[in-house]
């Protein structure tokens, strides 16, 4: 994305533009419009930012969307898995007809809601850590993501014994590190291109 003032700033009208309005002074289209509309740049997007506002959406703003998304994702995955398990279980038990349908519904609802609750709870804890970290540190970067994910894993499994707690933290750390690496892949590619000679 080109910033506003790298090649052509907003004060120099680009005469070569194909819009045809800029440059040669056309008769204005409306008697109430007392300026040449060609002075308004039309080729580049215009962003409106409040003074002092950050140019990116904050973590709090994204939090509810993330929580809801992971909740719905959990419901979908859990529902699919419950449907599969229910098909297997009812086939094994030899249930048919109405009974099988009800059993399938039960499987889907039970597994789906359980998975949705798990995913949603993890997302809430992660968002809480993330918002807290970005609020205390004043910046929003990948370190926040990694620390918040590790803390989430530790906290979520904190009552299941020391070993599983560490395992949860390790999973959180690994997933968030992978995400951070993927997020910064072009920077990493730049780093590899560096030639000291």
């Amino acid at each position: 994305m080109s910033s506003l003032n790298d090649s052509n700033d907003i004060y120099t009208p680009n005469y070569e533009s194909s819009s045809g309005i800029a440059g040669n002074l056309r008769p204005f289209s409306s008697p109430y419009l007392n300026f040449d509309p060609g002075y308004i740049p039309q080729t580049q997007p215009e962003f409106i930012f409040l003074d002092g506002a950050s140019k990116q959406r904050g973590r709090f703003e994204l939090a509810f969307g993330q929580i809801g998304g992971s909740c719905m994702l959990g419901a979908t995955l859990g529902g699919a898995s419950g449907f599969y398990n229910g098909l297997k279980a009812t086939t094994l038990a030899g249930q048919t007809g109405k009974l099988r349908r009800t059993q399938l519904l039960n499987h889907v609802m039970k597994k789906g809601s359980a998975t949705a609750n798990t995913f949603g709870s993890v997302a809430v804890i992660y968002s809480a850590f993330g918002v807290f970290l970005s609020w205390t540190r004043g910046t929003d970067d990948d370190l926040n993501t990694v620390v918040a994910a590790t803390a989430t894993g530790l906290l979520y499994k904190s009552t299941a014994g020391l070993r599983r707690c560490g395992l949860g933290g390790a999973i959180g750390f690994g997933v968030s590190t992978l995400y951070a690496l993927w997020n910064n892949r072009d920077k990493l590619a730049d780093l590899r291109q560096f030639n000291p000679a």
Partner: protein
């Protein structure tokens, strides 16, 4: 919290689902912690453990119920916006009643009617309070007229030069 505004429509469903889940998780956590503390065997340590267990077991379920409510509500809200081509408090009230009715569909028709009524009244109350707050806070944004001079005392003042109409 200043940065938070509502999303445009299809994403609003996800957003409201997440908000309702968070609300349910935090509210359910507080509620279940008190309940688990009271229902546990005596001894301070055991009461804390009971509280923790109750939070772990029950509050995600409450949060899930809240999330289903929020998602269903928002879905119907968006559908109503699309159908009626306008956004007003009636959308919320209708979708609250419909959500209450649909989610009680397995419990028979009387339960559906009761839940729909409760949902509608609840959303009407919320919308009413919202409108009331908007009215109250709009008071201070009303444009104030500049103080006018008394036209009867304008005689000795010079008229501002420049523009004279004949």
């Amino acid at each position: 919290m200043e940065e938070y505004t509502r999303e445009p429509c299809p994403w609003r469903i996800v957003d409201d689902c997440g908000g309702a889940f968070t609300m349910g998780l935090i509210g359910g956590g507080v509620f279940q912690s008190i309940k688990g503390f009271r229902n546990a065997p005596s001894g301070y340590n055991r009461r804390l453990m009971g509280s923790l267990t109750a939070i772990k077991q029950r509050s995600p379920i409450i949060a899930g119920n809240f999330a289903v409510w929020g998602g269903m509500f928002s879905t119907i809200d968006c559908a109503l916006i699309h159908i009626r081509k306008k956004e007003d408090p009636w959308n919320s009230i209708i979708s609250g009643a419909a959500t209450g009715g649909i989610l009680a569909a397995r419990n028979g028709l009387p339960a559906m009617a009761g839940s729909a009524f409760i949902g509608g009244v609840l959303l009407a109350l919320i919308e009413g309070v919202g409108i009331l707050f908007t009215r109250l806070s709009a008071e201070q944004f009303q444009p104030q007229l500049p103080p006018m001079e008394d036209p009867s005392q304008l005689g000795e003042q010079q008229p501002p030069g420049g523009y004279q109409f004949q």
